[in-house]
């Protein structure tokens, strides 16, 4: 029997606002435990939540990027349950009126574009961090109250690969929109998935299994593929899939039973009475949308359509926000798009990899890189020389012209008459080569170029030289 996987994703994104969603304690990662807490975050009696405007703006940015309809009223609800990481005994969230509804995003699968529906996006607050030891548990309230948006997809994904692409797209959106670091390893982007299978062609749903503890983008695909196969095996052997929550074990690449998921815990939702509903004016929503930095999709389109880059180069540039920002900054000072793209995607990238740093730590500013590119663009140096200069710039921390000076590289000669003279001189000295060339002997051209280089001590611009050479050969 052929099975069709039915997959839905619930993604939690930590927003990098300056302060928490409902208190004014700062939001920061990796600080000393329990130093970023307001009395509200530890649920001291009598404390009250106040809504973080930036958090709402960020949520609107993402909702808009996901083509969702945005609610013009802000409502919050309480999700009530007892757990050690939940100081108030309830979480402030949005149950009845999520800020974003009915959207979608597009992923590319097998060369085709597929649209995945997104049911809702809502704002809520994060819980404490817990550190479990055999004899005790430690609670760190720094994270309690950090703003989160939860994005719930419709169960329209059909493979682990599709799911991974969906997560990549979400990550790109939340990073490019400036609302989150989107790092799964740091917990600022968390993925839970619901997986079920059904006979191909069927319209009913099979039993849903929740899979948690997926800590990287790659594991998204691996965990889901494993789970789908596991469920298929059960059914083929005549068994039934149990509704439960499973944990992905990345070392063994398998999902392990965690707890039985009884048909939804009763969270006794009711309106958060300490936050009266807030009207969001059209202006507010529009400004929130306008405030969003350019997303990857839009940048890529622009690079292809306006800068003439190819799909590959453009894709590389937008694979990381900081890289595309670097490129954008550089293009403010130069229109040599292809050159800039190449330098960034190849030479800069290679340097970053070797030194294991990000482009944010790259010691050459975009303006400086432009300085180098300008030398190449004007044919003042050839590409080999440019690479030497690049290395020297990084070594000495100087700009291109200075590095060129230090290296003693004199400008390439691009003077037409000088080049013509050199070309003609060599042709005159090597009549046999001309005959060889006319007879189609491939090496003749290279030989002639080499001779010209020798004569001019390599100072001549090779590209212009070969153009002039071909022209002169035609005449003979």
């Amino acid at each position: 029997m052929e099975f069709e996987p039915v997959i839905g994703l619930e993604i939690h994104v930590e927003l990098k606002t300056k302060s928490k969603m409902f208190s004014n304690a700062p939001v920061a990662y990796g600080k000393e435990p329990n130093t970023l807490c307001a009395p509200l975050d530890m649920a001291f009696p009598g404390t009250l939540p106040t809504v973080n405007k930036e958090g709402v703006i960020y949520a609107i940015r993402v909702s808009n990027a996901l083509h969702m309809s945005i609610d013009n009223e802000l409502h919050f609800d309480r999700k009530n349950y007892f757990y050690s990481d939940l100081p108030k005994g309830f979480q402030i969230t949005q149950d009845r009126r999520p800020i974003g509804k009915e959207g979608y995003l597009e992923i590319e699968v097998g060369g085709k574009v597929k649209r995945i529906g997104i049911e809702r996006l809502h704002i809520e607050e994060d819980t404490c961090k817990q550190l479990h030891f055999p004899a005790f548990t430690l609670l760190n309230y720094n994270r309690a109250g950090v703003p989160l948006v939860e994005i719930v997809s419709k169960p329209e994904l059909r493979s682990g690969e599709e799911a991974m692409k969906y997560v990549e797209k979400i990550r790109s959106i939340v990073v490019f929109s400036g609302v989150s670091d989107g790092k799964m390893e740091e917990g600022s982007l968390r993925v839970d998935t619901n997986v079920s299978i059904r006979p191909k062609g069927s319209n009913t749903f099979g039993t849903k299994v929740e899979v948690k503890n997926i800590n990287s983008i790659n594991y998204v695909q691996k965990a889901i593929d494993f789970e789908v196969a596991r469920q298929a095996k059960i059914i083929e052997e005549g068994g039934t899939v149990i509704q439960e929550t499973r944990r992905y074990d990345d070392k063994k690449n398998e999902t392990v039973a965690m707890r039985l998921k009884t048909d939804a815990v009763d969270y006794r939702y009711y309106p958060e009475t300490n936050i009266t509903p807030i009207k969001l004016s059209d202006e507010f929503i529009e400004n929130a949308i306008k405030s969003c930095p350019e997303l990857a999709e839009s940048k890529k389109k622009r690079y292809i359509e306006e800068h003439g880059l190819n799909n590959y180069d453009a894709s590389l540039l937008v694979s990381e926000k900081a890289v595309s920002d670097y490129y954008d900054e550089a293009t403010k000072h130069s229109k040599a798009y292809k050159l800039l793209a190449n330098w960034i995607n190849v030479d800069v990238a290679s340097y970053l990899n070797k030194n294991i740093i990000s482009i944010n730590e790259f010691p050459m500013s975009p303006e400086r890189l432009v300085g180098l590119v300008k030398l190449v663009e004007s044919n003042e140096v050839n590409s080999n020389q440019a690479r030497e200069i690049f290395a020297k710039m990084l070594q000495e921390g100087v700009e291109a012209k200075k590095a060129k000076e230090i290296l003693g590289i004199s400008s390439q000669i691009s003077d037409m008459s000088f080049i013509k003279d050199a070309v003609n001189a060599v042709l005159a000295e090597n009549p046999q080569a001309i005959i060889d060339y006319k007879e189609g002997k491939g090496r003749a051209l290279g030989f002639l170029v080499g001779q010209i280089m020798k004569k001019t001590q390599g100072k001549i611009n090779p590209k212009i030289t070969s153009d002039v050479l071909l022209e002169e050969l035609k005449k003979r």
Partner: protein, 485 residues
């Protein structure tokens, strides 16, 4: 020495330098120590003396300068024990002051103690706090309750220990004990006063309340407490009017509604007589008294609606009490064990009952029948009240069916009797309207009061009319003399 004196009387003494804030503080502390009504959780002796000694120059235009007062123990006081009269908060010392405490300190008033309440503000008898029964100073035999949940604040003010007290009102917790204790008990419009630092019982109903012994003092205190506080985003941004300056101005609004069906449920002839006498007096002052109707069915639903909604909210608002972050820590090998122990030990039986009911009302299978139906009914009730206030400016009713009941009479347990007379004050909480109780008479040497309710944010008018009513009754500044050891 200064017991029973009003704010303005004390202010006069202070301005004329006949007395200092330190004198007043010492006197109030002495009275508090000798209080035998069990009104105090904690007497702030050191704190009060410290504050009173450092007030600097007298502020002649500030009537609260140097005036002692007490705080209901469900309000956060920095560095001072705050227990909400519950064992679950034994030893809890807050790191911050409630907005109202802050405002009074800024006004240079002097807090001298934290007063008892029905545990976590849930109750109406003044008997369920962890220190036991708080007595009514009017009854030397200690056979009658003072009511609740603001029992301690009511008792201390009625005994003349301080001229005003902070309290709270969710279903009638300021305005009912005011009636039993011969006090002015004022609950302003919901959102008029910041709830920051008021331990929440049911935030959609909770309001800070004020006890005084005359209407003018109530105006003074309310004006200081009212106003927008950004830490309470539900607090109103409306400007605060000058209640105190305007108190003696004749109110233009003079149409008073009396709800027939509520008065009919009152069987106490003395109460009815006194009430009718005030009606005559008000008419003589040019008020128009209209008899209006509310359906008995709707009135009978007041208590169940209140109980379902408030219990549901209370359950959620007290889910933070686990003994881990604050309060006495229990031991156990799992989170469940630790929390279960702390809450089992810490909460009284009546509280647990309310939590069970509250959780039950919010359960998926019951939510529609109980919680949502109660919410809808609340809306219906509020529409009714607001309708009455379209053609009338105030609603006027006896505050309680009779004088303070004897302990042997009262019960805080769930009862089958939804006495309308006992529960109509919750109309003010449902609708969030300003509502004030003041004494109108005595029976068996025990006071009883009547209640006026006005439109939202019309505190000025309500206080003005209350002032006129006070002149009709002549019962300003009464207090229970000599009620202590």
């Amino acid at each position: 020495m200064y017991e029973g004196k009003s704010i303005l009387e004390l202010h006069e003494l202070l301005v004329s330098k006949k007395v200092t804030p330190l004198d007043l503080a010492k006197d109030a502390i002495e009275l508090a120590k000798n209080d035998n009504c069990n009104a105090f959780e904690y007497i702030m002796e050191n704190e009060a003396l410290e504050i009173a000694s450092n007030l600097g120059e007298i502020e002649a235009n500030n009537p609260l300068w140097g005036i002692p007062f007490v705080i209901k123990d469900n309000m956060s006081t920095k560095d001072v024990s705050t227990t909400a009269s519950s064992n679950v908060l034994n030893g809890y010392i807050p790191v911050y002051d409630a907005a109202v405490v802050e405002k009074l300190k800024n006004a240079k008033a002097v807090p001298i103690g934290k007063t008892t309440l029905d545990e976590l503000a849930m109750g109406g008898t003044g008997t369920s706090g962890h220190l036991g029964i708080t007595h009514n100073p009017w009854d030397k035999e200690h056979s009658r309750l003072v009511g609740g949940s603001s029992c301690g604040s009511a008792s201390a003010t009625a005994a003349g220990i301080v001229p005003f007290a902070l309290a709270s009102d969710t279903g009638d917790s300021t305005r009912k004990p005011a009636s039993f204790a011969g006090l002015v008990g004022f609950k302003p419009t919901w959102s008029r006063i910041s709830r920051y630092g008021l331990f929440p019982f049911a935030p959609s109903l909770d309001t800070v309340g004020i006890f005084t012994r005359n209407v003018t003092d109530a105006a003074i205190v309310t004006e200081v407490l009212a106003g927008r506080d950004d830490r309470d985003s539900t607090s109103s941004t409306k400007e605060v009017a000058h209640y105190f300056n305007k108190i003696k101005e004749k109110c233009e609004k003079r149409r008073i509604a009396v709800v027939k069906e509520i008065v009919e449920t009152i069987k106490d002839k003395d109460v009815l007589e006194a009430f009718n006498k005030t009606i005559v007096g008000l008419k003589e002052k040019g008020f128009v008294i209209n008899e209006v109707s509310m359906s008995t069915e709707l009135l009978s639903s007041l208590f169940p609606t209140y109980f379902v909604l408030s219990c549901a909210e209370a359950t959620s608002n007290n889910a933070n009490m686990d003994g881990i972050k604050f309060g006495p820590l229990s031991n156990g090998s799992t989170f469940e064990e630790v929390v279960t122990k702390a809450r089992t030990k810490g909460f009284g039986e009546l509280i647990k009952r309310r939590f069970v009911i509250g959780s039950f009302a919010l359960m998926k299978e019951n939510k529609n029948d109980l919680f949502i139906r109660a919410q809808k009914n609340r809306r219906r009730i509020v529409e009714n009240v607001n309708n009455i206030l379209k053609d009338n400016d105030f609603i006027y009713l006896p505050a309680a069916p009779s004088i303070a009941p004897k302990f042997t009479d009262a019960s805080d347990r769930l009862s089958d009797e939804y006495l309308i007379a006992d529960n109509h004050l919750v109309l003010g909480n449902f609708a969030g309207l300003p509502s004030i109780t003041l004494p109108i008479g005595f029976k068996d040497d025990m006071p009883f009061g009547a209640n006026l309710m006005g439109r939202a944010f019309e505190e000025t008018e309500l206080l003005q009319v209350s002032y006129e009513l006070e002149q009709v009754t002549g019962l300003a500044n009464i207090y229970a003399k000599g009620g202590r050891k």
